[in-house]
Amino acid sequence: MPADFLIRAALAGLGLALAAGPLGCFVVWRRMAYFGDATSHGAILGVALALAFSTSVFVGTLGVALLMALAVSTLAGRGWAIDTTLGVLAHAALALGLIAISFVRSVRVDLESYLFGDILAVTPADLWFIWGGAALVAGLIAARWSALLTSTLSEDLAHASGVSPARERMVLTLALALVVAVAIKVVGALLISAMLIIPAAAARSLARTPEAMALAAIGIGAVAALAGLGASLTLDTPAGPSIVAAAAACFVLSLALGALRRA
């Protein structure tokens, strides 16, 4: 029987895979990769604020991630190029977060755990947050699947069929903030985008429909979480980066499988 902390770590990884898989597909389809970066880098600021005001880190990251996501959509809507907007916001938020966290003396040693995750230290309470957030994200995406997919294909087509693209964008923004809050403990702020993008990208070569791609992304994320955790234990490597490395290995494997299927 594996130790409790291992079981909790595995469950945390699986929870993240459940939420990040489908959302990651939308991030890939809509080319929002930078969007994930900006939101997750903002999370460090959220951590600092949460520690300064002694509230839950989950609440702090969720709040700041949401603000970042809103700021990005607003600025991008005003005609700034999206990569410029995100370049400004993501790195400004990261820098501000690092400065803010330096004022909270007690956590100076802990900074690494927020940048790279601390999956082996997931508490039962964390697990409730992670699974609650993941279920919310997965449920939200499932409930709005058709509308999300239509407005991803073409905002004009969505409008003409009575779907509001602005509302669907808000749904994704909210889901992204939730995933960031869920993922910061698992893979850390710097690697959240990786867990969104890599499993979805790996799923692409294996899937012929959007639904299959979302499910495959969940599966690949889950495999990566477990394999990364295993590697971390046997090779004594940091857990968060190991999970991302395992996902990257899945991506390479999927390219080979995809090539075989087409051959």
């Binding site: 890939v28 389809w29 080319r31 058709s146 509308a147 997919l149 239509t150 991803t152 294909l153 073409s154 905002e155 004009d156 087509l157 969505a158 409008h159 003409a160 069929s161 009575g162 779907v163 990208a201 692409r204 899937a207 012929r208 429909t209 959007p210 299959a212 791609m213």
Partner: protein, 259 residues
């Protein structure tokens, strides 16, 4: 009974006025074509009617419960999104397999359900977009230069298809077109737009109107002499060709390009 109407509609983007005091109404079953030079606000008018672009002043009204089948100029689908034709046709509302097959057959694409959208040629893509619009059981079809990027036989076939569909389903059609031959042959009414409505009426009336002649600078009598020269005959592939409004129209005598 009006399906969709614009009432003294103006649209401004920033400081630029794109549409000024445009009023129009579309009745059931009629084919109305919007023509006008580049930048005259044709697409903006369609988008305002669809509710994509907000009115700066004036208003757009639609019959309650109006079902719109919209065919955009073109649709770019990211290769990262696996999308078979069957799935595309069921967005956002699901349609049964039989219904989907019938819609594909109607546009001449029997059995294309499993094809990937990204593997379709330009002409096939327009047909799939039309099939999707038909599946909405539309009261009105709205088409924005639906034949851009098609070669001429493809274009002629596409307009013929629209005409057939209109006769079978009895829906109204509102389309933007550059191709005045088609406009004159197929439309009940033509609206000539240049930021405002220059003139409108039956095709013959419009083609004789001085405003229209001033805009398009026609020489030949009665016959339709405008032909938009295409720089880029894009035969049957679907990459995003940059064939857009950027370059000026080239006007030729129709004889130069006998069709």
């Amino acid at each position: 009974m009006t399906l969709i109407a614009a009432d003294h509609l103006s649209v401004r983007f920033g400081g630029a006025t794109v549409l000024e005091d445009v009023s129009l109404r579309i009745a059931p079953g009629e084919i109305v074509t919007l023509i006008g030079p580049n930048g005259s606000g044709k697409s903006t008018l369609l988008r305002a009617l669809l509710g994509i672009v907000p009115a700066s002043s004036g208003s757009v009204s639609r019959k309650p419960g109006l079902r719109i089948g919209y065919v955009p100029q073109k649709l770019h689908i990211d290769r990262g999104l696996p999308m078979p034709v069957r799935r595309f046709l069921s967005l956002p509302q699901r349609h049964g397999a039989a219904e989907t097959a019938a819609a594909l057959a109607r546009v001449g694409l029997e059995g294309a359900e499993a094809k990937a959208m990204t593997d379709l040629s330009g002409g096939q893509m327009q047909r799939v977009l039309l099939a999707r619009a038909l599946l909405m059981q539309p009261d009105i079809l709205i088409l924005d230069e639906p034949t851009q990027g098609l070669d001429q036989p493809g274009e002629a076939a596409f307009y013929q298809l629209i005409d057939e569909v209109r006769r079978q389903m009895g829906c109204a059609v509102l389309m933007v077109s550059h191709d005045l031959h088609v406009v004159m042959a197929a439309s009940d009414r033509v609206i000539c737009l240049n930021g405002h409505v220059c003139c409108e009426g039956a095709p013959q009336v419009v083609s004789n109107a001085p405003e229209y002649r001033a805009l398009f600078g026609l020489g030949t009598k009665g016959a339709l002499a405008l032909y938009q020269h295409r720089h880029d005959h894009d035969h049957d592939h679907d990459h995003g060709h940059g064939h857009d409004h950027a370059h000026p129209h080239h006007l030729h005598e129709a004889d130069d390009h006998a069709r």
